[in-house]
């Protein structure tokens, strides 16, 4: 009896020992898989950020041309600017002024710029005008003209004006283009390329911070001057609408459902609804916006108002769910104490419960807003991908948004120039996201300590 048990115990031990190496190997392998998975995930994060940074940073500098522009009266043959006569109506004055500006616009500004470029070039450099004018950005003449429109007294004078280098100039100066390619594959002619090199040496072309990225709106004809200002303002208006609408609606709704709602069919329905809305694909919200806000209510197409409303509806479930979780977390003792002191239910909620949950609600709100800020698909359906070359002054003006601008730029055929541009825009967007999230984390830690 004892023998058999002993034997079987020894046998079992042997069996276990025999399997031990295999089991330990399995353990190590499993652990290794875990580490590999973590490394893969971290590697993706690292790869994505380094890729965007590596591509985007060069786009923050831009080739600038410093030109000595002479406003030659012989070329600029124009009437003096109109002066407002007494008793003239606003409309009359404006039309007179516009007529004058039209006349100014008709002048041959290219000649002025060409003269300035030739002055900067070395004596006797051979290049024809068409090739020469590919060096500055095509909006250079607007800049010079604008300087004149703002100050007609410049006629006959010579002043220094900074203009942007064209996208091709920028690419060449930065070395984004393979310099060994044949003439046929180069965007710029050989003399133009040589002249750019000379300009770089004599200081006419400098690489400066690309302020135009933040101070200009998108542009089709002058890609180097295309900027994000319009998209930033569009995003600003939309986020304003989201904050003004989604936060009170979401918090109010969460308070009702968590604190006041009786358990009924209706409130159950609302609850299921909200959970489902949180998981509805964003593009479906775009369809809702297109059908309801644009087609039925006739809100203006491509306006931040419609975009903001769509994003509000999208963000609401996030805020409601987070606020409810925060309200649920408040200890019952606090509620009972408030009620016990004679507070009404409303007083209990608004005076005691809500202030305690404030940090969590704020954090959830900021994260919800950050999510809404990065959303692209629903905005495409309500026309926010239209080309807009103005800064929206109100939520009713045509506008685009930062992520949509990224979408528009990535599709530009001038890839050499626009891939860095798009990465730069992505960096701006990610910077906003990271800032918002950092604020959320900071506020939470700060406020929770005090509470």
């Amino acid at each position: 009896m004892t023998d058999t048990t002993l034997a079987s115990a020894a046998e079992r031990r042997k069996l276990v020992r025999a399997g031990l190496a295999r089991r330990h190997l399995g353990e190590r392998l499993f652990r290794l898989f875990g580490i590999v998975a973590i490394c893969l995930a971290l590697g993706f994060v690292a790869l994505l950020f380094t890729d965007v940074l590596r591509k985007g940073i060069p786009a923050f500098t831009q080739a600038n041309l410093r030109l000595e522009v002479t406003f030659d009266p012989e070329v600029l043959n124009v009437d003096p600017a109109p002066v407002r006569a007494a008793g003239q109506s606003d409309a009359d004055y404006r039309s007179q002024r516009l007529a004058w500006e039209r006349q100014v616009a008709m002048l041959n500004w290219n000649t002025v710029i060409e003269a300035a470029l030739r002055r900067a070039a070395p004596e006797g450099f051979e290049i024809d005008s068409r090739q020469l004018l590919t060096i500055p950005e095509s909006d250079a003449r607007h800049r010079v003209r604008q300087a004149f429109v703002e100050n007609p007294g410049l006629l006959g004078q010579t002043v220094t004006i900074d203009v942007l280098g064209s996208a091709n100039t920028d690419n060449w100066a930065k070395g984004n283009i393979n310099r060994d390619l044949g003439d046929a594959q180069q965007q710029l002619s050989a003399p133009a390329r040589a002249l750019i090199d000379i300009f770089e040496e004599n200081g006419t072309i400098t690489q400066g911070f690309a302020w135009s990225l933040f101070t200009n709106v998108d542009s089709r004809s002058a890609p180097a001057s295309a900027g994000l200002l319009g998209a930033l303002m569009g995003t600003f208006w939309m986020m304003l609408i989201v904050i003004v609408l989604a936060v009170p609606l979401g918090v109010g709704s969460a308070i009702y459902l968590e604190e006041f709602a009786p358990k009924s069919r209706l409130t159950d329905l609302i609850e299921v609804n909200i959970n489902n809305l949180a998981a509805v694909p964003s593009i479906v919200f775009g369809l809702l916006g297109a059908a309801v806000f644009i087609n039925w209510f006739r809100l203006p197409l491509s306006a931040p108002l419609a975009g903001g409303l769509v994003l509000t509806l999208m963000t609401l479930p996030t805020i409601i769910i987070a606020t409810r979780a925060a309200l649920k977390g408040v200890s019952p003792a606090l509620r009972q104490a408030a009620l016990g002191m004679g507070a009404s239910k409303t007083q209990m909620v608004f005076h005691h419960v809500l202030p305690v949950t404030f940090p969590s609600i704020l954090t959830a709100t900021i994260i919800g807003v950050a999510q809404a800020m990065g959303e692209t698909a629903p905005l495409l359906l309500i026309g926010m991908n239209a080309f807009v070359a103005s800064v929206p002054g109100t939520p009713l003006d045509q506008a685009t948004a930062l992520p949509v601008q990224i979408f528009l730029w990535q599709g530009n055929e001038n890839r050499n120039f626009f891939e860095p541009r798009t990465s730069a825009a992505i960096m701006v967007l990610l910077a906003f996201m990271i800032t918002l999230n950092a604020i959320a984390i900071f506020l939470r830690s700060r406020l929770e300590k005090r509470a």
Binding site: I38, F44, S253, I283, K345, L380, L429, L430
Partner: protein
């Protein structure tokens, strides 16, 4: 300008109402030593509410009707002989001239006598109607204020009334969620139904060719609207995404949950969660300019023909996007498995990995399956990555190395920048949207059901 005047006056009126209500309540409570039911601020708020509600209602009605009335009045100012000679465009231009004259901005060119007169009349009319509106709004506000103030007595249950108003407001907030769902379902169903009046639903759901005309090319030919190529593309990309996300996400969650040192976990977890916060357009761009070309070159090196934009590219990057989703949900679910189960396994001599594989994972399985379903629903509804990186080739085929198209891509293509829902070309977007909505809804409901059911198991 006028809006600011009205808003400013409204604020002043509200402040006044609150102050008057409050002061009367205060006078009551101090004067004769009676016990007043509610405190001063409730009386103030109640009076302010009584002032606010009628004024806002009146302003809303005014804003609705006044443009029409003004237009009708301006038209009536025009002499009949001018009116008969104008078409719609000319009439609008003429009305704009008169409005410009009325605003004092003036017009270009010679001002005709009738224009001058009409402009002056319109200016007078506008001023008058503004004053009427202001007076009526103020009158209503003051009326509400006095009525409410007169009601104030020691026995008035002002607090209860204010609280009832607050709860009505809160209910209205909650209703927005319902309205949103109703709006989604109503718009999808009505427009999809209109689409099915053009195209037989059988052809839509079982058609194998997707060759729509784009909405801008007119309605000459209806085109073919077979869902199957899009559906296979969608499912293929989702499957690839899950093949990436599930092993990585799950193993990452297990490692962080069971093996990792608390400090490592504290650092690594938020870094992985960064992936969830990155906008999808960024992933799309990354897929298009980095991952796609890399895969193509890799394919060339090993003798495979991989398109730069393909189901594989989109699926891989989408998988990366979903990793944090799976890892956080799995982490939560693993946390909920009771310690005693694990300790029991250890007590029997199991190694850590055996415990995880044979005890922890089976116990957490329903919850993890729920998380996978939620992730699949996310992958199916994802748009920007596939718009940029899937290649938009709506052809029925099974090779993941070739470009495909998805439901979401087609919605974007059919509806971008166009909201003239007259032909099947744009209406098909709603039929696609409805399909997508129902698919994701089913997945979500099943997933939520499984997750909930499982969570209650150990309580």
């Amino acid at each position: 300008m006028n809006t600011f005047i009205v808003a400013g006056l409204l604020i002043v009126l509200l402040g006044l109402a609150y102050q008057l209500g409050w002061s009367k309540s205060r006078a009551l409570s101090t004067a004769n030593g009676v016990r007043v039911h509610s405190r001063g601020q409730y009386h103030g708020t109640l009076v302010a509410l009584w002032t606010l509600v009628p004024v806002v209602l009146f302003l809303a009605i005014w804003a609705f009707f006044s443009p029409g009335v003004t237009h009708w009045y301006t038209v009536s100012l025009l002499p009949t002989e001018v009116l008969t000679g104008l078409d719609q465009l000319g009439l609008n231009a003429q009305l704009q001239r008169i409005r410009d004259l009325a605003s004092g901005f003036g017009v270009t060119g010679e001002v005709q006598p009738f224009e001058q007169a009409a402009g002056e009349n319109l200016a007078r009319f506008q001023l008058l109607s503004f004053l009427i509106m202001l007076a009526a709004a103020a009158g209503l506000g003051v009326l509400g204020l006095t009525l409410a103030r007169r009601r104030i007595s020691p026995r008035l249950r002002a607090r209860n009334e204010v609280e009832r108003a607050i709860s009505v407001l809160l209910i209205a907030c909650s209703a927005v969620a319902i309205f949103t769902t109703v709006g989604i379902v109503a718009s999808l169903v009505t427009e999809a139904f209109r689409f099915f009046t053009y195209i037989n639903p059988l052809d839509f759901f079982f058609g194998t060719v997707w060759a729509p005309r784009f909405s801008s090319t007119g309605t000459g030919d209806a085109g073919q609207y077979g869902l199957l190529p899009l559906l296979t593309g969608t499912l293929m990309i989702s499957a690839i995404a899950m093949l990436v996300a599930v092993p990585v996400g799950l193993m990452a969650a297990i490692y962080l949950n069971q093996y990792a040192h608390a400090n490592v976990r504290k650092i690594v977890k938020p870094i992985i969660e960064i992936l969830a916060g990155i906008p999808t357009i960024v992933y799309g761009f990354f897929a298009l300019v980095t991952v796609g070309p890399f895969l193509r070159d890799f394919g060339n090196a090993v003798g495979l023909s991989i398109s730069a934009t393909s189901a594989l590219t989109a699926g891989l990057v989408m998988g990366v996007m979903i990793i944090p989703f799976i890892s956080s949900l799995s982490d939560d679910i693993l946390n909920q498995v009771p310690r005693t189960l694990r300790d029991g396994a250890y007590g029997l001599g199991a190694t850590q990995s055996e415990t995880i594989r044979n005890v922890l994972l089976p116990a957490a399985l329903p919850g993890i399956v729920g998380a996978f379903l939620l992730a699949v629903s996310r992958a199916i509804g994802e748009t920007m990555i596939v718009v940029l990186a899937a290649g938009n080739a709506p052809i029925l085929r099974g090779n993941p190395l070739e470009p495909v198209s998805t439901i979401t891509v087609s919605i974007v293509n059919q509806l971008t920048g166009d909201t003239d829902f007259t032909g099947p070309q744009s209406l098909v977007a709603f039929a696609l949207g409805l399909t997508l909505f129902i698919m994701t809804l089913c997945l979500n409901i099943v997933a939520l059901y499984i997750v909930r059911r499982f969570r209650e198991q150990y309580e």
